[in-house]
Protein backbone atom coordinates (compact mmCIF):
# COMPACT_ATOMS: atom_id res chain seq x y z
CA UNK A 1 0.00 0.00 0.00
CA UNK A 2 1.22 3.48 -0.89
CA UNK A 3 2.31 5.74 1.99
CA UNK A 4 1.58 9.43 1.67
CA UNK A 5 3.23 12.50 3.14
CA UNK A 6 2.19 16.10 3.62
CA UNK A 7 5.42 18.03 4.07
CA UNK A 8 3.79 21.38 4.80
CA UNK A 9 1.10 21.17 7.43
CA UNK A 10 1.06 24.64 8.95
CA UNK A 11 -0.38 23.86 12.36
CA UNK A 12 -0.78 26.76 14.81
CA UNK A 13 2.04 26.12 17.28
CA UNK A 14 0.51 28.51 19.83
CA UNK A 15 -2.72 26.50 19.97
CA UNK A 16 -1.85 22.88 20.90
CA UNK A 17 -5.46 21.65 20.76
CA UNK A 18 -5.94 22.92 17.20
CA UNK A 19 -2.53 21.56 16.25
CA UNK A 20 -3.51 18.18 17.65
CA UNK A 21 -6.83 18.14 15.80
CA UNK A 22 -5.09 19.00 12.49
CA UNK A 23 -2.49 16.26 12.99
CA UNK A 24 -5.26 13.74 13.81
CA UNK A 25 -7.14 14.84 10.72
CA UNK A 26 -4.02 14.27 8.60
CA UNK A 27 -3.74 10.77 10.00
CA UNK A 28 -7.47 10.11 9.31
CA UNK A 29 -7.06 11.34 5.73
CA UNK A 30 -4.37 8.71 5.13
CA UNK A 31 -1.05 10.49 5.61
CA UNK A 32 1.70 8.58 7.37
CA UNK A 33 4.19 11.46 7.51
CA UNK A 34 3.67 15.15 8.19
CA UNK A 35 6.22 17.94 7.94
CA UNK A 36 5.47 20.79 10.33
CA UNK A 37 7.25 24.13 9.84
CA UNK A 38 8.96 25.45 12.93
CA UNK A 39 10.81 28.62 13.77
CA UNK A 40 14.61 28.27 13.30
CA UNK A 41 14.88 28.95 17.03
CA UNK A 42 12.31 26.29 18.02
CA UNK A 43 13.05 24.75 21.38
CA UNK A 44 13.57 21.03 22.05
CA UNK A 45 10.39 21.09 24.22
CA UNK A 46 8.30 22.40 21.33
CA UNK A 47 9.68 19.71 19.03
CA UNK A 48 9.20 16.90 21.55
CA UNK A 49 5.62 18.08 22.25
CA UNK A 50 4.78 17.90 18.53
CA UNK A 51 6.55 14.55 18.24
CA UNK A 52 4.37 13.23 21.07
CA UNK A 53 1.14 14.50 19.44
CA UNK A 54 2.17 12.89 16.14
CA UNK A 55 3.08 9.62 17.79
CA UNK A 56 -0.34 9.56 19.54
CA UNK A 57 -2.01 10.15 16.17
CA UNK A 58 0.15 7.35 14.65
CA UNK A 59 1.78 9.62 12.11
CA UNK A 60 5.49 10.19 11.53
CA UNK A 61 6.76 13.72 12.17
CA UNK A 62 9.45 15.56 10.22
CA UNK A 63 10.82 18.89 11.43
CA UNK A 64 10.83 21.58 8.79
CA UNK A 65 12.13 25.12 8.54
CA UNK A 66 11.12 27.73 5.98
CA UNK A 67 13.65 30.38 5.05
CA UNK A 68 12.69 33.61 3.29
CA UNK A 69 16.09 35.22 2.69
CA UNK A 70 16.47 38.57 0.96
CA UNK A 71 19.95 37.88 -0.41
CA UNK A 72 21.97 34.76 -1.35
CA UNK A 73 24.39 35.54 1.52
CA UNK A 74 21.54 35.56 4.01
CA UNK A 75 20.46 32.16 2.68
CA UNK A 76 23.98 30.74 3.03
CA UNK A 77 24.21 32.03 6.59
CA UNK A 78 20.85 30.48 7.52
CA UNK A 79 21.81 27.16 5.95
CA UNK A 80 25.14 27.14 7.80
CA UNK A 81 23.44 27.84 11.13
CA UNK A 82 20.29 25.74 10.95
CA UNK A 83 20.62 22.98 8.32
CA UNK A 84 21.65 20.31 10.82
CA UNK A 85 18.78 21.14 13.16
CA UNK A 86 15.91 20.29 10.76
CA UNK A 87 14.95 17.36 8.57
CA UNK A 88 13.47 19.48 5.79
CA UNK A 89 14.71 22.86 4.60
CA UNK A 90 12.49 24.91 2.34
CA UNK A 91 13.41 28.23 0.74
CA UNK A 92 10.80 30.73 -0.33
CA UNK A 93 12.46 32.56 -3.19
CA UNK A 94 11.55 36.24 -3.43
CA UNK A 95 14.42 37.29 -5.72
CA UNK A 96 16.05 35.67 -8.71
CA UNK A 97 19.49 35.60 -7.02
CA UNK A 98 18.07 33.74 -4.02
CA UNK A 99 16.21 31.35 -6.31
CA UNK A 100 19.38 30.50 -8.26
CA UNK A 101 21.45 30.05 -5.10
CA UNK A 102 18.76 27.86 -3.51
CA UNK A 103 18.43 25.73 -6.64
CA UNK A 104 22.15 24.90 -6.80
CA UNK A 105 22.71 24.38 -3.07
CA UNK A 106 22.53 20.70 -2.11
CA UNK A 107 21.42 21.61 1.42
CA UNK A 108 18.08 22.95 0.16
CA UNK A 109 15.28 20.40 -0.14
CA UNK A 110 12.31 22.39 -1.39
CA UNK A 111 11.95 25.45 -3.58
CA UNK A 112 8.87 27.55 -2.93
CA UNK A 113 7.57 30.50 -4.88
CA UNK A 114 4.94 33.14 -4.25
CA UNK A 115 1.38 32.22 -5.16
CA UNK A 116 0.04 35.76 -5.22
CA UNK A 117 2.82 37.67 -7.02
CA UNK A 118 3.37 35.60 -10.12
CA UNK A 119 6.06 38.00 -11.36
CA UNK A 120 8.39 36.72 -8.66
CA UNK A 121 7.98 33.05 -9.51
CA UNK A 122 11.42 32.32 -10.92
CA UNK A 123 11.00 28.66 -11.83
CA UNK A 124 12.15 28.86 -15.46
CA UNK A 125 14.47 26.67 -17.56
CA UNK A 126 17.66 28.04 -15.96
CA UNK A 127 16.29 27.43 -12.47
CA UNK A 128 15.13 23.93 -13.41
CA UNK A 129 18.55 23.07 -14.86
CA UNK A 130 20.28 24.13 -11.63
CA UNK A 131 17.74 22.26 -9.50
CA UNK A 132 18.11 19.11 -11.58
CA UNK A 133 21.85 19.01 -10.81
CA UNK A 134 21.27 19.49 -7.06
CA UNK A 135 18.85 17.76 -4.70
CA UNK A 136 16.09 20.33 -4.46
CA UNK A 137 12.55 19.74 -5.61
CA UNK A 138 9.80 22.13 -6.62
CA UNK A 139 7.15 22.38 -3.93
CA UNK A 140 3.56 23.08 -4.98
CA UNK A 141 1.10 23.92 -2.23
CA UNK A 142 -2.54 23.22 -2.94
CA UNK A 143 -4.29 25.27 -0.24
CA UNK A 144 -3.88 28.50 -2.28
CA UNK A 145 -5.71 26.83 -5.19
CA UNK A 146 -8.65 26.27 -2.84
CA UNK A 147 -8.45 29.77 -1.37
CA UNK A 148 -8.00 31.83 -4.52
CA UNK A 149 -10.99 32.68 -6.65
CA UNK A 150 -11.78 33.64 -10.24
CA UNK A 151 -8.97 35.25 -12.23
CA UNK A 152 -6.19 34.91 -9.64
CA UNK A 153 -6.79 31.15 -9.56
CA UNK A 154 -6.84 31.00 -13.36
CA UNK A 155 -3.48 32.81 -13.54
CA UNK A 156 -1.96 30.58 -10.87
CA UNK A 157 -3.12 27.40 -12.62
CA UNK A 158 -1.74 28.66 -15.91
CA UNK A 159 1.66 29.41 -14.31
CA UNK A 160 1.73 26.07 -12.50
CA UNK A 161 1.01 24.25 -15.79
CA UNK A 162 4.06 25.89 -17.34
CA UNK A 163 6.28 25.19 -14.32
CA UNK A 164 5.21 21.54 -14.07
CA UNK A 165 6.02 21.05 -17.77
CA UNK A 166 9.46 22.64 -17.21
CA UNK A 167 10.12 20.51 -14.13
CA UNK A 168 9.19 17.33 -15.99
CA UNK A 169 11.37 18.29 -18.96
CA UNK A 170 14.43 18.84 -16.72
CA UNK A 171 13.54 15.91 -14.42
CA UNK A 172 13.21 18.11 -11.34
CA UNK A 173 11.23 16.23 -8.68
CA UNK A 174 7.92 17.80 -7.67
CA UNK A 175 6.59 17.68 -4.12
CA UNK A 176 2.91 18.32 -3.51
CA UNK A 177 1.98 19.56 -0.06
CA UNK A 178 -1.14 21.05 1.46
CA UNK A 179 0.13 24.28 3.02
CA UNK A 180 -3.07 24.09 5.05
CA UNK A 181 -3.47 26.43 8.01
CA UNK A 182 -6.82 24.97 9.06
CA UNK A 183 -8.82 21.77 8.64
CA UNK A 184 -11.04 23.36 5.98
CA UNK A 185 -8.14 23.22 3.51
CA UNK A 186 -7.04 19.68 4.29
CA UNK A 187 -7.82 16.97 1.74
CA UNK A 188 -6.90 13.33 1.26
CA UNK A 189 -3.90 12.47 -0.94
CA UNK A 190 -6.04 11.15 -3.79
CA UNK A 191 -8.16 14.32 -3.74
CA UNK A 192 -4.98 16.39 -3.98
CA UNK A 193 -3.83 14.19 -6.86
CA UNK A 194 -7.15 14.91 -8.60
CA UNK A 195 -6.65 18.65 -7.99
CA UNK A 196 -3.26 18.54 -9.71
CA UNK A 197 -4.99 17.53 -12.95
CA UNK A 198 -6.08 21.18 -13.07
CA UNK A 199 -2.51 22.04 -14.05
CA UNK A 200 -1.99 18.93 -16.18
CA UNK A 201 0.16 16.90 -13.81
CA UNK A 202 -0.60 13.25 -14.59
CA UNK A 203 -2.21 11.31 -11.72
CA UNK A 204 0.75 8.88 -11.46
CA UNK A 205 3.24 11.77 -11.16
CA UNK A 206 0.97 13.49 -8.64
CA UNK A 207 0.85 10.35 -6.49
CA UNK A 208 4.66 10.14 -6.65
CA UNK A 209 4.84 13.81 -5.64
CA UNK A 210 2.72 12.98 -2.58
CA UNK A 211 4.49 9.75 -1.64
CA UNK A 212 7.79 8.79 -3.25
CA UNK A 213 9.49 12.20 -3.52
CA UNK A 214 8.76 13.43 0.04
CA UNK A 215 9.75 10.09 1.59
CA UNK A 216 13.01 10.04 -0.39
CA UNK A 217 13.79 13.59 0.80
CA UNK A 218 13.08 12.86 4.46
CA UNK A 219 14.90 9.51 4.49
CA UNK A 220 17.97 11.03 2.78
CA UNK A 221 18.10 13.84 5.33
CA UNK A 222 17.57 11.52 8.28
CA UNK A 223 20.56 9.48 7.11
CA UNK A 224 22.62 12.66 6.79
CA UNK A 225 21.61 13.85 10.25
CA UNK A 226 22.42 10.52 11.90
CA UNK A 227 25.69 10.46 13.89
CA UNK A 228 26.98 7.59 11.71
CA UNK A 229 26.95 9.67 8.53
CA UNK A 230 30.39 10.71 7.25
CA UNK A 231 29.96 11.80 3.63
CA UNK A 232 27.73 10.86 0.68
CA UNK A 233 28.03 7.07 0.37
CA UNK A 234 30.14 6.72 3.53
CA UNK A 235 28.75 5.92 6.96
CA UNK A 236 29.99 4.20 10.09
CA UNK A 237 28.73 0.61 10.23
CA UNK A 238 30.27 -0.25 13.61
CA UNK A 239 32.86 0.93 16.06
CA UNK A 240 35.12 -0.69 18.61
CA UNK A 241 36.68 1.06 21.55
CA UNK A 242 40.31 0.29 22.27
CA UNK A 243 41.51 -1.14 25.62
Amino acid sequence: MKRFADLHLRVPLKDPSKAESMIRKASELGYSLVGIPLSPHATREQISQLRQICSDAKVDFATRVNFSPRTPNELLQSLRRFRRKFEIVSVRCHTKDVARQAAKDRRVDLLQFSVTSLRIRFFDEAEAELASQALSSLEIELAPILQLTSFSRVRLLSRLRREVATAERFKVPITISSGATEELFMRGPRDYAALTTLFDLPISSALDALSKTPFVTVERNRKKLSPDYVAPGIHVVGSKTGD
Binding site: L146, L184, F185, R190, A194, T197, L198
Partner: protein, 104 residues
Amino acid sequence: MIKREKKRYLALKVVSEQPLNEQTVLDAIQASVHRLFGEYGASQANLKTIKYIPEKRQFVIRCSHRMLEKVRAAIASTIEVNGEKATIHVLGVSGTLKALSKKT
Protein backbone atom coordinates in the same frame (compact mmCIF):
# COMPACT_ATOMS: atom_id res chain seq x y z
CA MET B 1 -24.02 0.40 -32.10
CA ILE B 2 -23.97 3.08 -29.42
CA LYS B 3 -21.56 2.24 -26.63
CA ARG B 4 -23.08 2.37 -23.15
CA GLU B 5 -21.51 5.07 -20.98
CA LYS B 6 -19.63 3.72 -17.95
CA LYS B 7 -20.37 5.27 -14.59
CA ARG B 8 -18.52 5.69 -11.33
CA TYR B 9 -20.09 5.87 -7.88
CA LEU B 10 -18.46 8.10 -5.28
CA ALA B 11 -19.09 7.91 -1.54
CA LEU B 12 -18.75 11.37 -0.02
CA LYS B 13 -18.61 12.70 3.51
CA VAL B 14 -19.54 16.29 4.19
CA VAL B 15 -17.88 18.11 7.08
CA SER B 16 -19.75 21.27 8.08
CA GLU B 17 -21.03 22.95 11.21
CA GLN B 18 -24.70 22.79 10.18
CA PRO B 19 -26.36 19.72 8.62
CA LEU B 20 -26.89 20.15 4.89
CA ASN B 21 -29.48 18.55 2.65
CA GLU B 22 -28.61 16.46 -0.37
CA GLN B 23 -29.76 18.98 -2.96
CA THR B 24 -27.57 21.78 -1.54
CA VAL B 25 -24.51 19.52 -1.60
CA LEU B 26 -25.18 18.38 -5.17
CA ASP B 27 -25.76 22.01 -6.20
CA ALA B 28 -22.42 22.98 -4.65
CA ILE B 29 -20.61 20.18 -6.52
CA GLN B 30 -22.39 21.10 -9.77
CA ALA B 31 -21.42 24.76 -9.28
CA SER B 32 -17.82 23.75 -8.65
CA VAL B 33 -17.71 21.57 -11.79
CA HIS B 34 -19.28 24.44 -13.74
CA ARG B 35 -16.75 26.95 -12.33
CA LEU B 36 -13.74 24.78 -13.18
CA PHE B 37 -14.78 23.11 -16.43
CA GLY B 38 -17.62 25.21 -17.81
CA GLU B 39 -20.98 24.18 -19.19
CA TYR B 40 -19.45 21.63 -21.57
CA GLY B 41 -17.61 19.87 -18.71
CA ALA B 42 -20.67 19.99 -16.45
CA SER B 43 -22.78 18.40 -19.15
CA GLN B 44 -20.23 15.57 -19.54
CA ALA B 45 -20.02 14.95 -15.78
CA ASN B 46 -23.65 13.77 -15.66
CA LEU B 47 -23.91 14.08 -11.87
CA LYS B 48 -26.74 12.50 -9.90
CA THR B 49 -27.37 11.85 -6.21
CA ILE B 50 -27.96 8.16 -5.52
CA LYS B 51 -28.16 7.89 -1.77
CA TYR B 52 -28.03 10.13 1.29
CA ILE B 53 -27.40 8.97 4.84
CA PRO B 54 -28.18 12.03 6.98
CA GLU B 55 -27.01 10.60 10.33
CA LYS B 56 -23.52 9.91 8.92
CA ARG B 57 -23.59 12.97 6.62
CA GLN B 58 -22.60 10.65 3.79
CA PHE B 59 -23.69 10.78 0.18
CA VAL B 60 -23.35 8.57 -2.83
CA ILE B 61 -23.23 10.35 -6.15
CA ARG B 62 -22.80 9.05 -9.67
CA CYS B 63 -20.76 10.53 -12.50
CA SER B 64 -19.41 9.58 -15.90
CA HIS B 65 -16.20 7.53 -15.61
CA ARG B 66 -14.48 9.80 -18.15
CA MET B 67 -14.99 12.78 -15.86
CA LEU B 68 -14.06 11.03 -12.60
CA GLU B 69 -10.80 12.89 -11.90
CA LYS B 70 -12.36 16.20 -12.90
CA VAL B 71 -15.36 15.64 -10.64
CA ARG B 72 -12.98 14.65 -7.83
CA ALA B 73 -11.02 17.87 -8.40
CA ALA B 74 -14.24 19.87 -8.29
CA ILE B 75 -15.31 18.12 -5.07
CA ALA B 76 -11.89 18.76 -3.48
CA SER B 77 -12.00 22.43 -4.45
CA THR B 78 -15.32 22.99 -2.65
CA ILE B 79 -14.83 25.01 0.52
CA GLU B 80 -18.33 26.44 0.83
CA VAL B 81 -21.80 24.93 0.61
CA ASN B 82 -24.80 27.25 0.62
CA GLY B 83 -22.70 30.11 2.01
CA GLU B 84 -21.32 28.03 4.88
CA LYS B 85 -17.81 26.70 5.29
CA ALA B 86 -17.79 23.01 4.40
CA THR B 87 -15.44 20.32 3.16
CA ILE B 88 -16.37 17.30 1.08
CA HIS B 89 -14.13 14.24 1.32
CA VAL B 90 -14.26 11.32 -1.08
CA LEU B 91 -14.43 8.09 0.96
CA GLY B 92 -14.33 5.71 -1.96
CA VAL B 93 -14.92 5.27 -5.67
CA SER B 94 -16.27 2.24 -7.45
CA GLY B 95 -17.94 1.08 -10.61
CA THR B 96 -20.82 -0.62 -8.78
CA LEU B 97 -22.83 0.28 -5.69
CA LYS B 98 -22.20 -3.17 -4.23
CA ALA B 99 -18.41 -2.78 -4.40
CA LEU B 100 -18.69 0.76 -3.05
CA SER B 101 -20.64 -0.40 0.00
CA LYS B 102 -17.86 -2.94 0.72
CA LYS B 103 -15.21 -0.23 0.47
CA THR B 104 -16.84 2.32 2.79
